[in-house]
């Protein structure tokens, strides 16, 4: 069971990334929880400075970019 963290204070880009993550999960038919993390302490604890960041099972996969549904699917497959 995996979990995805969307790391960002809640700006439009963060919301877009969270939506894309939800879509990727749905398209793959996975039971993965997408969590929006807006607490600065937790964002920085993942090593993210340029928001939004995305982490899968606690491992940072990318930051500073609105990744596409396809990008996120690849992150989940790896």
């Amino acid at each position: 069971m995996k979990n995805i963290e969307i790391l960002g204070p809640g700006c439009p880009r963060c919301k877009q990334l969270a939506e894309n993550a939800e879509k990727a999960v749905a398209e793959l038919g996975l039971n993965v929880h997408v969590e929006k993390v807006s607490d600065m302490k937790r964002i920085l604890a993942r090593g993210v400075i340029s928001t939004p960041g995305i982490a899968v099972d606690g491992v940072l996969k990318g930051s500073g970019r609105v990744y596409t549904v396809e990008d996120i699917k690849a992150m989940l497959a790896a």
Binding site: G8, P9, C11, R13, C14, M40, K41, I43, L44, A45, R46, G47, V48, I49, S50, T51, G53, A55, V59, L60, K61, G62, S63, G64, R65, V66
Partner: protein
């Protein structure tokens, strides 16, 4: 190469639309077509190239370059990196915390925070396309100087105690941002161009339309009477008007260019543009999560003073 856009505007305005080149209307339409075509092409090309360069400098990496650098070198590097590092105001807080956590001094962090929004590629492209490379270069250099000097002054004032207390308790994780492949860099850059275009195209068109109107209809030397070099209040007034216009930087520059043609002096023009890009109300609201009031006002005060000095200096020497 830019003559291409003049030819294009000649073709559309005079040949296709059959407007009279000597009429005010024809001149304004010509101005509008030439500048919109030029700016959008330049934006697409230059923002793309800048984004490729940027993909090599994520802020996660930059903070490590800056930690433990000597004071002066640190300020210069921070201001320079501010130009090429991606920055959006919603990342301002994590960026600020991440820099301090890496041991980047407070003043050096401010040099970065000042140069990053002020000397950005969109402003530089508009300046280059509308004013020419000389003014774009002057803006770049004076912008960096303002960022370095303001950062050094903030460092001298030893204001660490006016950073929100919780900031000092945060520890960065070791999470590494994965290195991008060549293909990913191109995708990132294309993405970045799309994002910027989507955000600013109405401002660019609106700005150029307003500029075209000023260009065709406002009499020559009109502004000399109100905001000429002899009015000592013109520079501070320009700065005060500039601060609330933040979101419209892309729309303001074309208007300012037309105003400069009508007699607005270079120093006042530069001060106005810097105020528009460097100081923004939304960014201050965001930064108030990590800075206590006193430091925010000091920051605003020092940057404003530096910009006003740039205005007076250029009005004096040009």
């Amino acid at each position: 190469m830019l003559i291409l856009f003049t030819r294009l505007a000649d073709l559309v305005a005079y040949d296709l639309l059959g407007l009279n080149p000597t009429s005010r209307f024809g001149e304004s339409i010509h101005f509008f077509i030439e500048d919109t075509a030029k700016i959008f092409v330049l934006l697409a090309v230059i923002v793309f190239l800048v984004a490729i360069v940027r993909s090599f400098f994520p802020p996660e990496k930059v903070r490590r370059f800056l930690s433990g650098k000597g004071r002066f070198v640190g300020h210069v590097m921070a201001a320079g990196l501010g130009v090429v590092t991606p920055f959006c105001s919603c990342s301002a807080c994590p960026l600020f915390i991440g820099f301090l956590e890496a041991g980047v001094p407070l003043g050096v962090t401010f040099s970065f925070l000042i140069s990053s929004p002020m000397v950005n590629e969109v402003a530089l492209v508009l300046l280059f396309g509308l004013f020419g490379w000389q003014i774009a270069l002057i803006y770049l250099v004076t912008g960096l100087v303002v960022a370095v000097v303001a950062g050094i002054v903030i460092g001298w004032l030893r204001m660490e105690r006016f950073v929100a207390d919780y900031v000092w308790e945060i520890r960065m994780g070791r999470g590494e941002v994965p290195v991008m492949t060549g293909k990913e860099r191109v995708e990132y850059a294309a993405d970045y161009v799309r994002g910027i275009m989507k955000k600013i195209w109405p401002y660019v068109i609106g700005g150029i339309a307003a500029g075209a109107f000023v260009h065709g209809y406002v009499p020559e030397g009109f502004l000399l009477r109100f905001a000429g070099p002899t009015n000592p209040l013109a520079v501070p007034m320009a700065v005060i008007f500039g601060v609330p216009l933040y979101a419209n930087a892309a729309g303001v520059i074309p208007v300012v260019q037309a105003l400069m043609e009508k007699g607005l002096p270079l120093g006042t023009t530069l001060a106005f543009m810097m105020a528009v890009t460097a100081l923004s109300f939304p960014e201050m609201v965001i930064l108030s999560q990590v800075l206590k009031k006193r430091l925010i006002w000091t920051f605003i005060g020092i940057v404003t003073a530096a910009i006003i000095m740039v205005g007076y200096l250029f009005n004096l020497i040009v």
